[in-house]
Each structure stands twice: as structure tokens, then as C-alpha cells.
């Protein structure tokens, strides 16, 4: 059975301000969805709420993974269920190598399943990491570098995709993965995502611009405005946005400023 992420009538506030206003969205393993919308429409809030960021307060509604509410789960527990968030701004962790970090994350998953687990052996892990890096055509020296420390924008996003490849989640959210990338870096990152996409991975691509969708082809496109998904459709919806911008969406659905809680 394929895993399903289901968002029901989600209302979310941050620091007392209501940002999400009743979001409904279902992403299944094997599907590629794009969530588009102007800046400030609540796209990143949705991504971080799904992952359980403590600053985002669910006021109403629910988030279900395979039919079970995950609202009471901590961020790491949600991740171990099979959720993954590629960050818009990946965080630098000085002193912790990419390899050490990915191994720790893999072992955390194994230990959650079996507390007696001794963790992945070093040779086994090396083999796995090399295979993933080969698959993504990455230089092995990434493994020994400190996570995102001094990385260029493109390198950070590539390492996000490497983590995605190594951790094999069921549903991955890519939050503005295209931001800050030149066209070559964007292509490389998108190729990585495409290589991973398939029946065992569901993808929610969050983006402001249409251009990443030239590379990652969604089956479904949703438009978010003022904390709600106001339009959903097929791939042609993205082209319409590219052509016409967001003004027609604002005219049709806009309501002014988000309300206080």
C-alpha cells in the first residue's frame, strides 16, 4: 500500500498571527505535486508545520500520515515515519561531516525500529553513501566536508538531495529548492530529484517560480494564496501562472491581509 500524506482543513498560527487558513491537500507516494504561490502566502509555513517545527501552532485541522494523525509526534518521529523536508536555507553544522551526519540519521531510524540495533557498519555505510553519490554524480569529497559549512547555494541543495537519496523517505517536501540557484545548479538538483522520483517517493515541490517545473514535471499543481489552496489542476496550471503571473489569482480570491487568531 502506498503511503499518504493528508492535510485537512489546517489552520496554523505563528507568533499569534494566523498564517494558514484551512489548507486541504493529499500527496501519495509516487505522485509529484507542485505548490505555487506568491511570497508570504504560507507555503513554507505549511512545510514546517508538516515537519512539526515548534514555532508553528496548529489551531485547527489535522495532518495525517497513512490515516494516523501526526500532530502529537515530534519532528524526528515524523521524519522516521517517512517524511522529509529539503530546506530552502539548509543550516550549517560546523564540525559535523556530511557522512557522519547521514550515518547518524540512518542509525536513528534503525534504532527506532530495533533498540538493540548496533547501527550500520562503517564499510556498509561507505558503500551505501558512495552508491548514492555516484547516482547523483557527486564528488566523494562532499562526504568529508562539514555539513553546509561554507557551501555554495548549489552545493547546499545538492547535499539536501543526497540526504533525500540516502534516507529514502516516502514523501519529500522540497521547499523553494530552486531559490538562489543558477540555471546549471538548478538543472543538476532537479535531475537528482527526478532520478529519485518513482513509485516509492511522493514529492511536494514548493516554489514561487515556474522555472523548476521545467525540470521536475508535476502531475498536480496547487496555488496557495493567503493561507489557503485556492486552485488545483494539472501541469498546465503552472504554465498559466508563468504567462499571467499571480494577479488574476489575487483578483479572483484575494481577501486582503491575513487575520489575527
Amino acid at each position: 500500500m502506498s503511503a499518504t500524506l493528508e492535510i485537512r482543513n489546517l489552520h496554523v498560527s505563528v507568533e499569534g498571527r494566523l498564517i494558514l487558513n484551512g489548507v486541504n491537500l493529499t500527496v501519495r507516494q509516487g505522485e509529484i505535486h507542485a505548490l505555487m504561490g506568491p511570497n508570504g502566502s504560507g507555503k513554507s509555513t505549511l512545510a514546517n508545520t508538516i515537519m512539526g517545527h515548534p514555532a508553528y501552532i496548529v489551531e485547527q485541522g489535522d495532518i495525517l500520515f497513512d490515516g494516523q494523525s501526526i500532530l502529537d509526534l515530534k519532528t524526528d518521529e515524523r521524519a522516521r515515519l517517512g517524511l522529509f523536508l529539503a530546506f530552502q536555507y539548509p543550516v550549517a553544522i560546523p564540525g559535523v561531516t556530511v557522512a557522519n551526519f547521514i550515518r547518524t540519521a540512518i542509525n536513528a531510524r534503525r534504532r527506532a525500529l530495533d533498540p538493540q540495533d548496533k547501527g550500520i557498519s562503517i564499510p556498509e555505510f561507505r558503500k551505501l553513501l558512495k552508491a548514492k553519490m555516484d547516482f547523483l554524480q557527486m564528488d566523494y569529497n562532499f562526504a568529508g566536508r562539514y555539513l553546509n559549512d561554507g557551501f555554495s547555494g548549489g552545493e547546499k541543495k545538492r547535499v539536501e538531495v543526497l540526504q533525500l537519496a540516502a534516507l529514502e523517505p516516502k514523501i519529500a517536501i522540497l521547499d523553494e529548492t530552486d531559490s538562489g540557484l543558477d540555471i546549471d545548479a538548478l538543472r543538476i538538483v532537479a535531475e537528482g530529484v527526478n532520478a529519485l522520483a518513482g513509485p516509492s517517493l511522493g514529492v511536494l515541490v514548493i516554489t514561487h517560480y515556474q522555472r523548476i517545473l521545467n525540470y521536475i514535471k508535476p502531475q498536480y499543481v496547487h496555488i496557495m494564496l493567503e493561507g489557503r489552496i485556492v486552485e488545483s489542476g494539472g501541469a498546465d496550471m503552472a504554465l498559466k501562472l508563468e504567462e499571467k503571473g499571480y494577479d488574476w489569482v489575487r483578483e479572483k480570491y484575494g481577501n486582503g491581509a491575513p487575520q489575527a487568531v
Partner: protein, 436 residues
């Protein structure tokens, strides 16, 4: 009204203690004379207190001087000592007694001396007379330096002759199984073009009654010599430690110095690098971890007295529970010392609400063609990195551990011995898990 602060009680040793110590060891006249001179300086100096800039954050009033002021003979066999992986030589001293001393035959054959100070006095008196508290640490350096000069109880001499490159590392351990005072001395002398690696550590079990350690480290590096020196302070939590650690570098000498403080209840450590010869360079790295009830205090000086000298200091520490740390640093560039590259950086991570740290950098520059800078921060764990790691399935406690290990990695990487890195890594992980 001039009323002494009663809590800053004078240290109850007397001149007769110095004479008795020296007589009981049948020391030569020059040494008794040197001890008595130090004693006079000790008597002439006031007890350091809150009015002295170096001491205003170092409250040592908890010391019960009457209970602690007796020199420990130290005959107990040490237990639970760290494993030694050094091939070149090992000296173990328990209290003031030497319980083990060995040196690889090939090193002895090359003229390397690695022995306790009692033996050194009998066999290499000239070396001690020339170097012991005459150049690097002087009784005039402070109250505790003077006390040490008068009453030092034991110690180690490492001497590497001209041109000898010692590839096998040397190791020494001081063990203190009893309460009371010990005053250990490390004297390292490298002749021209000599090089060696050396690890020195102190350890004791935590006892009910207090102990006092008044130590000194003297490092004297001849022209173009090179020393890698790691010192690990891991006294029990009943111990108050006062130490002067001074290195003197002549022309083109190179020092890589790692100072690690994890033990003791209170430690006040003066670390001084004197760059006296043109082209000398020093790297000083500090790692400390202060848990509940500990105060770890480092007072560092990088004195550039000659042109084209380089110093690079990096201290990193974590403070937990009610622990405290102090770092005060100074780069001093003397007049005429041009083309200087001096750097100091100190970063402390506070791991709990009650933890406290002071980091105070300082520059004093009296030459114009220099490159000197500093960085000092006291911070707490930030939420965003923890959240980032948790989104990959890593539980919070493990995410925090990873970030803290990462914080230390930069300075750990500067330790030249894998075994020491591993042990410190385990020690830090243990501290984070709450054991101690």
C-alpha cells in the same frame, strides 16, 4: 581603616617547611638558596584577590587552607590510570613519588633525558641549575608561582639534545590519591634543531577532603626546535589547581601546545607563550568542559618580543549545570617586533541556564607593522540547527550531542594523537550524558 578581607587568608606554610623539604632530600645548596629566594618573594606578595584584574573572577575562598596545607608524600599505588600508548617513554608519579619510569633504549642512547626531578638533580644538576625557574616561570610571576618555587615537591625533566628528532611520543602521568598539597613541575628543554612529542596528564579520584595542586610547566625551546605538547588536567573534583605554564621560544622554534582542562573543582591556569626569537611560531589550543560546581579559568598571554613571530590561539569549551569558565587572553606585541601575525579566538557554549562563562580578549600592540586579531563569544545551542537535524530523524538529545561534538571538532582536530582525541571525545560524550 585597612582591614584585610578575612576570607583571603594567607597560605599557612612557613619558611621552615621549605628548609625541611630541602634538607630531607639532601638538596644541594644552590637549590635551597633558590627555594628560599622564592619563599621571600612569596612572603612579599599579597594574596591575589578580587582587586587584581587576573583574579577578580576567580573566587578561591572555598579552600580550607589549614586542612589542605600539608605536603603529600604520596605512596599510594595509582588505580584506574588511563592506558598509555606511548612507545618512547613513560613516567608515573603518585603524589611526589616516582612509581614508574622508563625510556626507550634508543632514545637514551641519543642523549635524550626523560626522568623525574630527583634523579635529574643527582645526574643532570647542571641542566636544572641552568633552567629550573630561571627563564620561563619565575617566582616573581605571582603568589602561586613563588609558592611553587619554594616548595615544589616533584616533577619531570625532558631534555632533547641538539639535532635529535624523537619520533616516539613520550608520556607522563601524575596521580594524587590523597588529600593535601602537591606541587609538580614539568621542565622541557629542547636544544637546537631537536624535536619531540609529549603528553602529560594529571588525574585523581574525587575525595571527600580537599587537595591543592600548585604546579608549573616550563618549556624552553632552542633555535629551530619543535615541540608538540599535550597537557590534560583531570584532577578529582576535590582539587584546587593553580598553575603557571610558560613557554619560551627562541629563533625559528615551533610549538604546538594543546591544553585540556576537564577536572578539578577550581583551576586557575596561566598560559604564556614568549616569542623571543625571530621566526618563532606557536599554536595554542584549549579544550575544557566545566560541569556542576567547577570553575575552569585560563589566563593566556601571547608575547611577541621579536620580529616575524606567529601565534595562533584557539580555546573552545562547554559549561554545564552550575559550572563556570573564564578565559582572559592578551596578545602583546612589544616595541620593534614587526611583521607579527597574532590571533586569538575563544568560544564557549553554555549548556544550561545556571552555567556562566566570561571570555575577555585583549590586544596590546606597540609596533606598527603587525596583523593581530581576536574573536570571543559565549553562546547557547540554537534551535534551528537542532530542528534541521531532527527533520532527518535524529532525536533531539542526539542532535544536540552532534552539534556540541561539531563545536569541539575544530580544536580536537588540532590534537596530534588519535588516542587522546578519542579519549577526550568519550569524556565529552559522557559529560553530555550527565555522568559528572
Amino acid at each position: 581603616m585597612t582591614k584585610r578581607i578575612t576570607s583571603l587568608r594567607p597560605i599557612p606554610y612557613i619558611r621552615a617547611d621549605v628548609e625541611e623539604l630541602s634538607r630531607s632530600r639532601s638538596e644541594p645548596a644552590w637549590l635551597l638558596e633558590r627555594r628560599l629566594r622564592a619563599w621571600e618573594i612569596f612572603e612579599s606578595l599579597p594574596m591575589p584577590g578580587p582587586k587584581d584584574e587576573s583574579w577578580r573572577r576567580t573566587d578561591y575562598r572555598a579552600i580550607k587552607w589549614d586542612a589542605v596545607a600539608h605536603l603529600v608524600p604520596g605512596r599510594q599505588a595509582p588505580t584506574g590510570l588511563p592506558e598509555s600508548d606511548s612507545d618512547g617513554g613513560l613516567i608515573v608519579q603518585s603524589g611526589a613519588e616516582t612509581v614508574r619510569a622508563q625510556l626507550a633504549g634508543e632514545l637514551a642512547a641519543k642523549g635524550v633525558i626523560f626522568t623525574d626531578l630527583t634523579t635529574a638533580l643527582a645526574e643532570h644538576g647542571g641542566l636544572l641549575r641552568e633552567h629550573l625557574m630561571t627563564r620561563a616561570v619565575l617566582p616573581e610571576n605571582g603568589k602561586f608561582a613563588a609558592l611553587h618555587g619554594a616548595l615544589w615537591t616533584h616533577g619531570i625533566l625532558l631534555y632533547v639534545p641538539r639535532g635529535v628528532d624523537v619520533t616516539l611520543p613520550l608520556h607522563s602521568i601524575w596521580w594524587a590519591g590523597e588529600p593535601g598539597t602537591i606541587m609538580g613541575h614539568v621542565l622541557i628543554v629542547l636544544d637546537e634543531n631537536a624535536s619531540v612529542s609529549y603528553i602529560h596528564e594529571t588525574a585523581s579520584p574525587t575525595l571527600q577532603e580537599q587537595a591543592l595542586s600548585v604546579g608549573a610547566t616550563e618549556i624552553i625551546l632552542g633555535p629551530n626546535s619543535s615541540l608538540r605538547y599535550v597537557q590534560i588536567q583531570n584532577w578529582g573534583r576535590h582539587t584546587f589547581e593553580f598553575g603557571h605554564n610558560h613557554a619560551l621560544l627562541t629563533r625559528d622554534a615551533h610549538l604546538e601546545w594543546v591544553i585540556n582542562s576537564i577536572g578539578s573543582r577550581l583551576s586557575k591556569s596561566f598560559v604564556r607563550v614568549e616569542l623571543e626569537g625571530e621566526g618563532a611560531s606557536a599554536t595554542v589550543s584549549g579544550i575544557y568542559f566545566a560541569s556542576d560546581g567547577q570553575l575552569l579559568d585560563h589566563d593566556t598571554r601571547q608575547n611577541h618580543k621579536a620580529p616575524r613571530t606567529t601565534s595562533n590561539l584557539l580555546f573552545k569549551g562547554a559549561v554545564k549545570g552550575t559550572g563556570r569558565s573564564v578565559w582572559q587572553g592578551m596578545i602583546h606585541v612589544h616595541p620593534g617586533a614587526q611583521k607579527i601575525d597574532g590571533f586569538q579566538e575563544s568560544r564557549t557554549l553554555l549548556l544550561s541556564e545556571g552555567a556562566h562563562a566570561d571570555n575577555i580578549p585583549g590586544l596590546e600592540i606597540e609596533a606598527d607593522d603587525v596583523k593581530c586579531s581576536h574573536a570571543a563569544t559565549v553562546g547557547r545551542l540554537e534551535e534551528e540547527p537542532i530542528y534541521y537535524l531532527m527533520t532527518r530523524g535524529v532525536p533531539r538529545a542526539e542532535a544536540e550531542r552532534l552539534i556540541i561534538e561539531g563545536f569541539f571538532a575544530q580544536v580536537m582536530d588540532r590534537i596530534p594523537f588519535a588516542s587522546v582525541r578519542e579519549r577526550l571525545g568519550e569524556e565529552i560524550a559522557g559529560r553530555l550524558n550527565g555522568s559528572g
